[in-house]
């Protein structure tokens, strides 16, 4: 991560254009455009089944595209480019049959294309990432025995240990405790300040409201709204959502976060 903080959005990091994805023969996304720039936080929102998670799983290369393309730094995304990407899935998708400690899970974040073994300073970096998320005391604990919020923080640490230029999170606020929400807000603030891009799937904009620059609302696999997020909490306040009417001034207040996180 660069040392000098960057305050405004920079060049485009990731662009998904005309993204089409089919699951089990059914098209879920019907040509979605989304992009995120350095220092920008983009929230992908929408009702259940609208295709939010499918979109970001396609962007990070977990799901194959049936149409469209994903560009990173203006070129088609490669396995090598994914080294600059930190992905936080909604939960550990393949809960293993063998227990693993938080350190072991976070260490796997140091691997990637052309790097099948962790670097020499792995231990130091892993502990620093756990410390940053406030879970250093859980380093030797079995991840499976941790609470939902603690597990989420370990998964964020696994993404952060990569020093990502782009952090992609799938519903990180769902079912986690306040402390974990605060840790996530700090993480996103820190990343934004240092010029990283963020794409986050949210069901409700909630505590992240003041950090989100752009909201992209999906409805049945197409973008129904794109712009600054609304003042109100929740997706029901967003223009384009099927249960709402047009919102006149969706821009959030300049100050006054919904959740006070500074101590």
């Amino acid at each position: 991560m660069p040392d000098a903080p960057i305050q405004s959005s920079g060049p485009t990091l990731l662009t998904g254009s005309g993204i089409r994805v089919a699951l089990g023969g059914t098209e879920i996304l019907h040509g979605v455009d989304v992009s995120v720039s350095a220092g920008e936080a983009v929230a992908v929102m929408g009702a259940n089944g609208s295709g939010k998670s499918t979109l970001i799983r396609a962007l990070v290369g977990v799901l194959p595209l049936t149409g469209g393309e994903v560009l990173y730094d203006g070129a088609p995304i490669t396995a090598g480019a994914r080294a600059q990407l930190g992905y936080v899935p909604q939960r550990i998708t393949a809960a293993g049959g063998v227990s693993a400690t938080a350190v072991e899970v976070v260490t796997s974040g140091l691997l990637g294309h052309g790097r099948l073994r962790p670097p020499r300073d792995a231990k130091h970096r892993v502990m620093a990432a756990l410390d940053e998320l406030g879970v250093a005391d859980l380093a030797k604990r079995d991840v499976g025995s941790l609470s939902g919020g603690q597990q989420q923080r370990v998964l964020i640490a696994r993404a952060m240990v990569r020093d990502p230029k782009l952090l992609v999170l799938d519903e990180p606020m769902t079912g986690v405790d306040l402390q974990s929400q605060v840790a996530l807000v700090h993480t996103i603030e820190h990343l934004k300040a240092h010029g990283a891009g963020i794409i986050v799937v949210l069901h409700e904009i909630g505590p992240l409201a003041t950090l989100i620059d752009t909201a992209v609302v999906l409805d049945h696999g197409v973008v129904s709204f794109r712009g600054a997020p609304p003042r109100d909490l929740g997706i029901h306040a967003l223009p384009g959502h099927e249960h709402t009417h047009a919102h006149e001034d969706p821009r959030p207040p300049a100050s006054g976060p919904y959740l006070e996180v500074r101590q």
């Binding site: 994914r82 992905y87 393949a94 227990s99 400690t101 796997s108 691997l111 025995s145």
Partner: protein
Amino acid sequence: MNLLLDPLVQRMLIAGLVVGIAAPIVGTYLVQRRMALLGDGIGHVALAGVAAGWLAGSIAGIAERDALALPGAIIFAIAGAGIIERMRARGTAAADVVMAILFYGGIALGVLLIGASGGTSTNLLGYLFGSISTVSWQDVWVSVILAGVIIAIGIGLRRALFAVTHDQEFASASGLPVNVLNMVVAVLAAVTITVSMRVVGVLLVSALMIVPVAIAQLMTHSFDRTMLIAMGIGAALTLIGIAITLYVNLQPGALIVVLGVLTYAAVASVVSIRRRRKARVSA
């Protein structure tokens, strides 16, 4: 002690030791992926490979008709592991159905091929139940080399193999070669089964991969330590099992597995008693 000078005993102990160390390494990844029974599926395919090796040996007129049994087993096992992995990755069929088809197909093909080579199904018994007392020095060195490869890859790539078996989605998003690493696990399993076949037999080979891991899991929460402890337990079980059969007329493969199951029961009991005591103290 004089027994240790006997070349037969030396061969048995070396073959048992390398298999006892290598099998739980692969077993840790299979348990991690919740595919503990994969070894059984591949084992049965390997049996068909043994029979195919016999048939090839017969056709080629090789004096020792089982000379090609091991190469045959390796080829079939790797092919079987590859098929299982491809089907698992694509989700084209339920894993348990694929496994069942390999079970039945492997054993039936094995019996047919051994018949075609002029043998009978009794020729397969040594492979079904193990025949460690018949291993030659050549078998031992092949086992040592293959086990060495399994240990080197299984431990050397453990972080990447852990990443891919623990959370494939994250590994894929990180740019790790997920398909290649999955295939590495499958091929390691195939080679382990082939190497272990002579020690414990196809029917029990999976036990040697899984039971030490199950015991180790009762002792630690760490993935690395689970693997390490399982390797130690695997080595101890095979050495103790073989040593006992030097004095008592028992089948080594079966004894090794029974010792493993008894150890699991004993460790599980101790862990359970400790937990209850701990709960009582803190209550």
